[in-house]
């Protein structure tokens, strides 16, 4: 970053302190979880580490790298197409794409099979869905569409003035992408890449479902087995640290890439159409994405219709819905608050190492294996002298909020950075305090993104089973637990309906919350 940038940033020691406090708290939490597990490890009997740890690390890294590279590629192409094209139902399509990432992985995997599997709608084409290709394809649906949603927001925020200039210069579709779009996208790519890599690396049931056998599996399986089957907690911690180490390397590499300030503007109706060849390509990209992504999700919805009356007639469904909505609302609010604190702290300093340190704990949390989180949380609460089952709701809220924090940071970070750098001088010359800066300058510009963050946090929490493996689930039932319970009791129709209803809730949240927030910010401005 050029030195002049430093002088443009408003002086905000409180924001830095807040960001640092949040980062330290998350890092301390992760350390405490591991410490609790190591403390209990003395009691374990120790089994044998599987002979295939090295192979699992290799195949997991390969799978995650492929998933990340392809997801970003697809995400850029799709964001490009969606930014240019206008059609009836566009909002719904964007919502559908964004919803993919928060849908439980298994639901997406079954949706994929409903389209491409042996007995699927397009099963006759004989597309292989099992093996490395199938796993990467499922991750593409989950993560590529999410990348497109985030990148689309960056493209939509390109100032109209820049577009007008470009149009008057008569830029070709390719030059337009290279000169105008790419600089707007670049800033978001490292953060997105880190997130997608982490998600793909820690993905577990989906990898085993589509992997096709021991040749394509995941390191999380070995960690899960060390805890559950072998009860070798020391080995589990060692493997978990290997996983975090690999993921940390990716986080650091992505953080080391030059941060690029992104632009900020409200989405405007585009008046600049690309040439016919480019538009044909855009429609093709969209059609392929719809066939590949949306069809799988539509299959989930269609599948769920059959059991609708049965599920809606059950009291347990409504209790679980109320619980899930409560947990989701609380953890979404917590995630947004944490993301604002950390992102504002990061935007207040030009020092790259400091920025990395502030953001890294949030990402590192995503690399902690789910089974280690469950075990660590249980032991931690117990060591505090609290009855674990009474603390379960609070634990799930916090765990789910932390789960969506990296996504929230990737969404809110770039615009807050851009504001600090492009409007920093104005803020200083007006002598605005931190609160006024937020209310008058930042909030109106990031409200829509904040809505997106809230939707993300809400839906992540809605779809995640959480860390409840060891906690009492008798009275604390969420929708995903109800779904996996139904699946485990042969009731696959009920499970399909619950999955479809969760998907509908997710879609509603993704379409409604960002729009609502933008309206709120306009009313205040």
């Amino acid at each position: 970053m050029p030195r002049s940038a430093e002088r443009r940033l408003p002086h905000r020691p409180l924001r830095l302190a807040g960001g640092a406090a949040a980062a330290v708290a998350i890092a301390a939490l992760i350390a405490t979880l591991f410490w609790s597990i190591l403390g209990a490890a003395a009691g374990g009997q120790g089994g044998g580490a599987g002979a295939d740890i090295g192979y699992l690390i290799y195949i997991t890294t390969l799978q995650a790298s492929l998933s990340t590279a392809l997801s970003l590629l697809v995400g850029i192409a799709l964001a490009w197409a969606l930014n240019r094209l206008r059609f009836v139902g566009r909002t719904l399509v964007i919502g559908l794409f964004a919803a993919a990432i928060v849908t439980p992985g298994l639901v997406v995997a079954f949706g994929l099979l409903a389209v491409w599997g042996r007995s699927g709608w397009l099963g006759g084409l004989g597309v292989p869905v099992f093996g490395l290709g199938g796993v990467v394809a499922a991750h593409l649906i989950l993560d590529g569409a999410f990348a497109a949603r985030i990148l689309l927001a960056r493209l939509d925020a390109i100032p109209e003035l820049r577009l007008k200039t470009g149009q008057s210069l008569g830029l070709s579709a390719w030059r337009r992408f290279a000169v105008i779009d790419w600089p707007a996208l670049r800033g978001s790519l490292p953060g997105l890449a880190a997130i997608i890599f982490l998600l793909a690396f820690t993905s577990f049931p989906i990898v085993l479902l589509l992997g096709g056998g021991p040749a394509v599996q995941t390191l999380e399986l070995a960690i899960y087995s060390a805890v559950r089957l072998d009860f070798d907690l020391a080995l589990a911690v060692r493997l978990a640290l290997v996983q975090i180490g690999i993921c940390a390397a990716i986080i650091l590499v992505s953080a080391a890439l030059t941060p690029v300030p992104s632009s900020l503007d409200r989405p405007a109706t585009p008046r600049w159409r690309d040439g016919p060849a480019a538009r044909a390509l855009q429609w093709t990209v969209l059609a392929l994405a719809l066939a590949g992504f949306a069809a799988a999700l539509l299959a989930v919805l269609a599948d769920g219709l059959a059991g609708l009356a049965t599920v809606l007639g059950r009291a347990s469904f409504w209790t679980a819905t109320a619980t899930s909505l409560g947990v989701a609302a609380l953890s979404a609010a917590l995630a947004l608050a944490l993301a604002l604190v950390v992102a504002a702290g990061r935007a207040a300093t030009p020092s790259r190492p400091l920025r990395t340190l502030l953001g890294a704990p949030a990402y590192a949390y995503l690399a902690v294996p789910a089974v280690a989180l469950a075990l660590g949380a249980f032991l931690f609460v117990r060591n505090l002298g609290i009855l674990p089952d009474a603390a379960a709701p609070a634990i799930v809220v916090i765990a789910n909020a932390l789960l969506s924090l990296p996504f929230a940071l990737a969404t809110l970070g770039p615009p807050l950075d851009a504001i600090a750098q492009s409007r920093g001088r104005l803020i200083r010359s007006l002598g605005l305090g931190g609160t006024r800066q937020f209310a008058a300058v930042e909030w109106p510009l990031i409200a829509r993104d904040a809505g997106l963050v809230l939707a993300l946090g809400f839906c992540f929490s809605l779809g995640d089973l959480g860390v409840i493996a060891l906690f009492d689930t008798h009275d604390f039932v969420t929708l995903p637990l109800l779904m996996s319970r139904a699946l485990g009791a042969y009731r696959s129709n009920d499970a399909a309906t619950i999955a479809a209803l969760m998907l509908v809730l997710t879609l509603v949240a993704f379409i409604a919350l960002p729009a609502l927030f933008e309206r709120l910010s306009r009313a205040r401005a």
């Binding site: 009691g43 021991p214 689930t473 319970r485």
Partner: protein, 331 residues
Amino acid sequence: MLRPSLFALAALVCLALPASAEDKPTLTLYTYDAFAADWGPGPQLKAGFEQSCGCTVAFVAAEDSISALRRIQLEGATTRADALVGLDTFIAGEARATGLFAPHGLDLGGLALPAPWTDTDFVPFDYGYFAFVYDKTRLATPPASFEALIAEPDSFKIVVMDPRSSTPGLGLVVWIREAYGDHAPEIWAGLKPHILTMSRGWSEGYGLFLKGEADMALSYTTSPAYHAVAEGDDRYAAAEFTEGHIAQVEVSGILKSSPHQELARQFLAYMASPEGQKAIPETNWMYPVVDLGPDLPAAFGPAPGKVLPVDEAAVTADRNAWIEEALAALR
């Protein structure tokens, strides 16, 4: 939207706290989620036992039975559990070795199990045989042995579960080992082209089969009974293998640290009694451990013709080696 859900959450927190106002003792049973769930056997057994015990039965449900055992091991002598309901053949040896369980002291001579019950620590409450389930409308003649399965064309697919994350997955490793001994790796190598995938758990693997992605899935001989009784769908059947099948017996144990050992003993006896057993078949979809006569739906069918014994001590000692040789043959 926020306020009612906050209220719901607060209500849940209150529900999670034990109701200690009453004088009646509370019998706390650790079990797996599906056992305590609405459509599991838990609610019926609780209602039936509470009629006569002068106590309150409280379930603490973990994700699965191994997780419930791990929780007790982590809690040690301070555990609130009076008994653990739902251990199985493959983990019982390890549970025994923890020294946390007390002898049950019950006379179980009258039970009807694949083999006479001699275990002095654990009390059985149901059992099932592992088998490959198929759809009769899609597959007219299923393979009748592992060797016949291996001889099918490569396009014949089965779904199994990973032995490291799933009990049926581990069951298949033990089954092939008990049937073929040291030749087990050859069977696994023969199965390799037929294995569509090794899912993390039974539910998603069986789901793949129900969606028509595979010709057979690893499950239980009693699975078709669910489809026939609960769904009125008699398309499904379990393939009987000439090598014989192994049983997974589900058992319960009383904790040494429990202040309510006598009450726990009574509950375990109730669960194994004809009255308690009636709650099992149509909730857990496993065979009862007493002869229920006409109370057992005909769809449950007879046991497989040949049943292989399972050596608990060998399973406990060699489990990881068996898993490793199976995975090595597939890799």
